[in-house]
């Protein structure tokens, strides 16, 4: 069996950036596994502009952004196997690992001085099913769209109901327009982008309905995708009926009350042949769960420490498989960190870590739904640590505050915060050290939204 230092699952923006940064940190044995026919992930169908302002200081389209990273991977000669589906990731520890190694004929001299190796089972048309061994694994599988089945929309199941991302792939990559008269449920960014895209291709997008009293997408997408084309956005509205048996013939919307229950008498029916759903994204963690990675019930992504390492040693996560991002630039940044940390893990392998190290648990409270990472080992922390999170509601003129062992260490004024836009705080190690008693091994950092 072939063995690699770093095996990366997925060649989307996260996987590519992780590979580049692991290589640049000195690792030469890297393998990327990708199930699609090309690298770049979802960026290949995101043909609109607005990517890369942070990473490249210029505005690129999705495919151009992907192309930059694909080129970086190619320049470094990193192995990337396309059309390859990963079926399973397993860990064999200690003595067990040795027996498995013997079974698979791994040369004893080559065997790393680590406690555990990971085994990645993959398959492709050309190579059939096979296994590779990995000293570290970086999970970069991305996310999936929430489907109709998760929504409880009444009505028949006619043709003409698509997730916004499916419609995006059909229009932008396959060259088909899925319908002519369109209603969109959900104001997530993909739905907004598709409202504009279908309009440009000659379809009539009649309305975008959003269940919540605020949009789930970026403000600028409301302006340039809806307002520019006179497409109405109906907040606090949902689909209460879908007409049509073979093909969608109409969709009925109704206003909802503060408990999101439809209000009788507010129904409006739109004649249409297509309903697009843009109702949220879910990290795709079947492989992670199979491996025994602990997942957060809030994000559906792995729970990670400051190094983006999961509860399974040597297994890292980044990008949308970890938590759904709004901006690919932040995915690249996060993935770069995961790649660097995987490299550092390999370099340090065999050197036992000091027992009983100082750990800070991060506790998201009042308005803060989750944080990534969820805990920090002070010994492994860099000079600064970015904490990313989302809030649960729309807040105006509020403060994001961080308290370490009940002492306020950060207070940041935010004019507007919304669940659709990811927030961040940057912690300074120097500052944390002044508040942490070295004898005390366990500390608590509370992050919360406060009105005053």
């Amino acid at each position: 069996m072939k063995q690699y230092d770093v095996v990366i699952i997925g060649a989307g923006p996260a996987g590519l950036a992780a590979a580049v940064s692991a290589f640049d940190a000195g690792i030469r044995s890297i393998l990327i596994l990708e199930r699609d026919r090309e690298a770049g992930g979802i960026l290949n169908q995101c043909i609109h502009n607005g990517f890369g302002l942070h990473t490249f200081k210029e505005e690129l389209t999705g495919p151009e952004y992907a192309d930059r990273f694909v080129k970086q991977v190619e320049e470094r000669g990193i192995e990337c196997r396309l059309n390859t589906m990963v079926m399973d990731i397993g860990v064999e520890c200690g003595a067990e690992a040795e027996s498995v190694d013997a079974k698979h004929g791994v040369d004893a001299m080559e065997k790393p001085s680590c406690r555990s190796l990971k085994y990645v089972t993959a398959m492709s048309r050309t190579d059939g099913m096979y296994q590779v061994a990995a000293r570290t694994v970086i999970l970069a599988m991305g996310c999936r769209e929430r489907p109709r089945g998760a929504l409880n929309i009444p009505g028949y199941r006619p043709a003409g109901i698509y997730s916004a991302g499916t419609a995006q792939r059909l229009v932008n990559m396959e060259g088909y327009l899925p319908g002519k008269k369109v209603v969109i449920l959900g104001s997530g960014d993909i739905g907004l982008i598709m409202a504009r895209r279908m309009t440009l291709e000659g379809a009539k997008v009649q309305v975008v309905a959003e269940l919540m009293p605020y949009s789930g997408g970026l403000k600028r997408n409301i302006v340039q995708c809806l307002d520019d084309y006179g497409i109405p956005l109906k907040l606090s509205h949902t689909v209460v009926d879908i007409q049509g048996k073979e093909r969608v013939e109409g969709v009925t919307l109704a206003q909802v009350d503060e408990k999101r229950r439809p209000i009788a008498g507010t129904e409006e029916t739109y004649e249409c042949d297509t309903l697009l759903l843009s109702v949220g994204l879910l990290p795709e963690n079947e492989l992670s769960a199979g491996l025994g990675v602990e997942l957060s019930p809030v994000t559906s992504g792995p729970i990670v420490n400051e190094s983006l390492e999961t509860n399974i040693e040597g297994v890292f996560a980044c990008g949308n498989v970890l938590h759904v991002h709004d901006l690919v630039d932040f995915v690249s940044e996060e993935a770069g960190l995961a790649g660097k940390n995987a490299a550092a893990y390999i370099t340090r392998m065999g050197k036992e870590e000091a027992a009983g190290q100082v750990q800070i648990e991060i506790s998201p409270q009042s308005g803060v739904r989750y944080t990534v990472p969820s805990h920090i080992r002070l010994s492994q922390m860099q000079d600064t640590q970015t904490i990313r999170f989302r809030v649960g509601d729309v807040y105006k003129n509020c403060f994001i505050r961080a308290y370490l062992n009940d002492k306020q260490i950060i207070s940041k004024k935010r004019p507007v915060m919304a669940p659709g836009e990811m927030e961040q705080l940057v912690l300074k190690k120097e500052q944390l050290l002044t508040f942490v008693e070295p004898e005390e091994k366990s500390h608590c950092l509370v992050i919360r939204v406060e009105e005053k």
Partner: protein
Amino acid sequence: MSIKKLICIGCPLGCEMEAEQEGTEIISVKGNTCPRGDAYARKELTSPTRIVTSTIRVEGGARHMVPVKTRQDIPKGKIFDCMEEVRKLSVTAPVHVGDVIVKDIAGTGVALVATGNVNVSN
């Protein structure tokens, strides 16, 4: 004099801005966090522009479609003229990022360029 409210589309921050307008003249812009916001507000209120992105068919390629964009922003009023021309276009593989498809799209003086790669079908 009138006050116009705008949301900047320059980056994902989406700054909420207020611009004071006197006839065709913009007197002040408030609420922007960077110079791009100021520039956007002035342009948006006098001669609004957008970058247009779309796809065109590829003959003999490993993929059916290649993504394209206008290299710079074009007047908002020209978006549908631009799309009409784009719909009639096709190219022959291979196509690479940055290849000029049309030098001047819809009389805007702006080039239409490929934003993706499509290899020859094998």
